[in-house]
Symmetry: C2
Subunit: 132 residues, 2 copies
DNA sequence: CTCATGGTTAAGCATGCACTTAACCGTAGG
DNA sequence: CCTACGGTTAAGTGCATGCTTAACCATGAG
């Protein structure tokens, strides 16, 4: 149930894959910052920072507004939440399977058709994006 | 506090950045699978699948054992947990900041030196990896 | 107006990455 | 032994990515 809309997962995780982008997020959790502040923090050009910010914004990890000629960036929680939920879903699914498996082993402790628990469910999962 | 050891974060998030690797994880939460099963699921070569599995293993997202000539893969929860915790830390840090900000706005509602809450904490965070 | 500051955009480049093919190894089964 | 199957490894290829420089736009200060 609630397979939700893991469409954006690709964007979010791709954004999180870069150390500098994670550093931006980490910084912004402490409070808003301007583009050049972030650039100084990362030790890269302002141009590079802007590119990172574009990625972070399209994945809904960061929001930003322009006041005068200064752009101020801050955290957008929706992206973080999405990633967090995807991970939690995977972990809980895995844990529930272990629970069921424990039940079976507890009830009929004699019969164990062992690791052949595989491949008996053809396509229940429905991939998120079968790649482009 | 508890800045822990976000060293492996780079590996984990890089691993999670690929849609096919996430598909592997998603599949393995339902139960173990062999290499060729995963290859068939992804619609790519067995060779490509092995490469993905190497990435997933070094980031502690998947474990695997070889029995005879068949390698069986399953979830390794430690990687998932690490990623989940990093995200949770960022989100909670951000939320706590909002709380403190709410306190200030509640107590001394008159004085607001507004959005200048920025840049007054030079380097409290200590980057995880200042990039190679 | 003029200059400086903060940001945006466009190439260009070098590296990394996902995938393929192809040769190869090890374990069954006949 | 011989063949088939599951997996591993090594090149090689094409595309994406992260960064830089450089030209450019817009706003604020003198």
């Amino acid at each position: 149930m609630l397979n939700h809309e893991w469409a954006g997962a690709d964007r979010v995780f791709h954004a999180l894959a870069d150390a500098n982008r994670r550093a931006i997020i980490q910084r912004l959790t402490r409070g808003p910052a301007t583009v050049s502040e972030l650039a100084r923090l990362l030790g890269v050009t302002v141009a590079a920072t802007v590119q990172h910010l574009q990625v972070l914004q399209t994945s809904e990890l960061v929001r930003s507004e322009k006041a005068g000629r200064v752009r101020t960036c801050q955290i957008d929680p929706s992206g973080l939440r999405r990633a967090e939920e995807w991970l939690r879903l995977q972990r809980t699914t895995w844990e529930h399977r272990l629970d069921r498996l424990g039940d079976v082993l507890g009830e009929s402790a004699a019969d164990h058709s062992t690791t052949t628990t595989t491949s008996d469910d053809p396509s229940t999962t429905s991939r998120e994006e079968p790649r482009s």
